[in-house]
Structures are given as C-alpha cells and as structure tokens.
C-alpha cells in the first residue's frame, strides 16, 4: 500500500529524537568505553587458545540449538496464548513469564530440582533409562532454552496480537485448516515479530551463564560456554575476561547485524 516517500511525512520530531538518542547513548556509550578499555593486543592470542575456541564452539551450538528449540516449541506456545481461548490461559501466560523474573542462579536451582539426578523428573528418568542430564551439553541447551524461551514467547505473542486475526478468518473461508493457516498466513504476517523474538532469545542465550553453571556445570570442552569462561576468568584475570567479552561481542554483533538486516529490510 504505502510506497510513500518517507521524507514527505516530515522530519522525526525532537520529542522523539532526543529521548531516542538518549536511550541509544545509554546503551552504546558503556560499550564504547568497554571497547576502548580493552587490551586488544591479546585479542588474537586469546582467540587462538583451545579453551576459548572450545567455549566459543559450545556457545555457538548451545545458542543455535536454543533458537531452534524456541522457534519450534515457543512459536506454537505463543500462538496458543494469542489465538486460542482455553481455561487457565491467564495463569499459563503468567507462568511463562516467570523464568524471566527468576535470577538465573535460581533458575538453575529450579532446573536441578526438576531435572537433576535427584530431581523429581530427573530421578525418574535416571531410574528408567540410566540417562542423567547434568554435566552434558544437553543440559546446557536445556538451561539456555529455559531462560531464553520466555523472551521469545512474549515477543511473538505481542506481535501475533498486534497483527490481528482477520486474515486467519479469510483463510478459514478458503478451506484452510488451522495448521495450514498458521503456516501460510499467520507466521508470514508476524515474521518481524518472530525475527525480533529470535534475536532476543539468541542474545539471551549468548549471555547466559548463571543457570547453566548451576544446572549443567562448567567444564572446558563439554559444558563451558563463553559467558561461563568469562565469569570465571573475571575472578582472577579481569583484562583477559574483557578480551574474551570482546570476542563474544564481535562475533555476535557480526552475526546479528548480518541476520537482522537481511530479515528486516525485506518485510
């Protein structure tokens, strides 16, 4: 509809530009000073070390799988919350928000009580199959998914509500099942919200360590992610920790910038 030339709508008002710039400054300045303060000469040395490469690899796998899990599991949940009326929806919606509120370490404790070796579900699982989750990469992914999914679900639910259901109705008159409608109509129309949600979940997963360390442990090469490595390094060698943070940042910004611009500029 709108092939409107942005300029004829007028310049953005100062009442929006000023607070917007303030917000940007608040978010960007600390990063800039962090970058300035980082001992860059170590950058490539650290980047080359096995511990760092291992941690980067685990972070990449864990955050990647987390995003996939969020999209596969979280999208249906967001859809149910946004589109289907069922008893207990309000409660479920609040419950889904809870992992957001939990301090990460407590989230880890919650996971331990549920899925740990002696956890309510974990012990059943162990007795039945001999499998235990903790100290494995599966545990890392579980922890990441647990803390990241709420961000995804809330964001996508918001977008689904904002884009409305009128086209869902049209699809129904054309004989589409709810599944087809979901796949071919609802999802494409809510795509910007999905992308934003996936970015949120991915970012949250990249920065996660509290729940992971508590639930999955912290061992180089199996469960140690970049943030865990950074956190433990911070105790003894803060400069190295900063360099490691920079590595995490540079890598993730590069990916984010590439992905988001690709997804968002052609809506």
């Amino acid at each position: 509809m709108t092939d409107t030339d942005g300029r004829t709508l007028g310049r953005p008002p100062l009442s929006l530009v000023i607070p917007g710039a303030l917000a940007a400054a608040l978010l960007v300045l600390p990063l800039v000073t962090l970058v300035l303060d980082t001992p860059w000469r170590n950058f490539f040395d650290e980047l080359g070390s096995t511990v760092v490469l291992d941690a980067l690899g685990i972070t990449a796998i864990a955050s990647g799988v987390t995003v996939v899990a969020c999209v596969l599991l979280g999208t249906p949940l967001a859809w149910l919350l946004a589109r289907v009326e069922f008893p207990g929806r309000a409660v479920l919606r609040a419950a889904v928000t809870v992992p957001l509120v939990l301090p990460p370490v407590v989230a880890g404790v919650a996971l331990v009580t549920a899925l740990g070796r002696n956890g309510l579900i974990g012990s059943v699982l162990r007795d039945a199959t001999g499998i235990t989750l903790p100290y494995t990469i599966t545990a890392v992914v579980t922890a990441h998914t647990f803390v990241s999914m709420p961000f995804y679900v809330l964001s996508v639910e918001g977008a689904l509500r904002a884009s409305g259901d009128k086209y869902d109705v049209v699809a129904a008159t054309l004989g589409a099942t709810r599944w087809t409608t979901f796949r071919r109509v609802t999802l494409p129309l809510a795509m910007p919200g999905l992308v934003a949600g996936a970015a949120l979940a991915w970012a949250r997963s990249l920065g996660e360590f509290g729940a992971t360390i508590t639930f999955a442990g912290n061992y180089p090469g199996t469960t140690q992610t970049m943030p865990s490595l950074i956190y433990t390094t911070l105790q003894s060698r803060p400069e190295v920790a900063r360099t490691l943070s920079m590595i995490l940042l540079v890598v993730s910004i590069a990916i984010l910038a590439a992905l988001r611009n690709r997804w968002l500029t052609t809506p």
Partner: protein, 229 residues
Amino acid sequence: GGDDEGGHATITVLAAASLTGAFTELADQFQKDHEGVTVKLAFDSSATLAQQAVDGAPADVLATADTATMDSATAALDGDSELFATNTMVLVTPTDNPAGITGFDDIVAGDVTYVVCVDTAPCGKVAAALLADNTVQTAPASLEVDVKAVLAKVTSGEADAGIVYATDAVAAGDAVQRFEIPHAADEVTSYPIAALKQSGDAALAQQFVDLVLSTAGQQVLADAGFGKP
C-alpha cells in the same frame, strides 16, 4: 561509613563469601560492644570486593579469602593487611553417599562424579594443587565458580563428591560426610583483613579489625572451622 546525625555510626565490612557465618556473628558482637554502632556486611567473591574497594566503594573494612586478591587492593588499604585465619580443604559426599566413597582414594582411582572450584577462583587453585599432589587422573565433572556452588552440588546430590573448605563442611553439618585429603596441610589458604582508606571512621574500622584478631574473634572463627593463621 561515618557518623549519623543522632550520634549513631555505621561501618561497612566487605567480606569474602566464606566468612558469612563467622562475620555475621562477629558483627553482632561488635554492635553489642559498641552502643549505637551499626555494622553492614556485604559478602561476595574476594575478587569482586577487592575491585570495589579499589573503585572507592563506601566501605571501611575488607576481608578476603586469599592474599593475592588483597594485594590487588593495596591502593585502597589503610596500612598493611593482617592474616586472621586459615582454611584447608576436605572431601565431602552427600550424607547417603550414593557412590559409596570411603576415602580420597576413590577419587584418585575410581569413576566418581566429583566437582571442584574453577582454578581461577582461590578455592580452585588449592583444589588443583591437591589434585596434582595426589596425581588424580579422572577429570572433575564441573569446575564451579565458587566453593558454595561445589557444596550445593554435593548436598543436592548432583555430585557424588566435592572438594570444599573445612569451614564449609562444618557449616553444612549433617548434610555431608567429610573425608580428609592427603597433603591438604601443604595447601593452606590464608585470610587477610585490613581497614580501608576511604573509611569515614578509621578508628571504628580498626576496632573491628582488632575484634577479628582478638581471642574472642579467633574463637568464633575456630568454631566455624577456620584454622589459626
């Protein structure tokens, strides 16, 4: 810290997390001894606290769990630090001891899921040394960020065993079984304490340090499982 309007005074003590129990008791005692004085305690990892002290955090006393971190805060110290306690490491298992551990040898030889501190933390340095001293072959399942995390893993049964400070074993009481580690006496951790330059009430700060070093203070620490410096 400093004087309030009504003649009240407050001092803030930054203390390593492992001192939580002992220092809480000492703070109570200090308040009893000094009418109108409030002691605020902030517990965290030694490194974080040292960093904050250097940053000029409003505090009067700093007590860390190793000398290295205290040294990193030299710039903020009002005079030299003094050692006030030591700690050694022990092996703990859950009370029900599901792996059937009978001594440290089971770690050295067997297929036991055990956890220790990460070697960037003070407790991890000691643990790593002990593992080396005893030529332990099997790797730990996880390197925890601090000793409390190790203890938590053991008490919750997530790990079959863990290496913690003697004081932690005391604090955990019945929740764990305790086993000595060979060569533990070679790897003793020392706790230094010092008043801070930014203290608003240097005398009061020094009095707290003195209390910790006094016989009464030493008794409280001994009850908590600390060794003598």
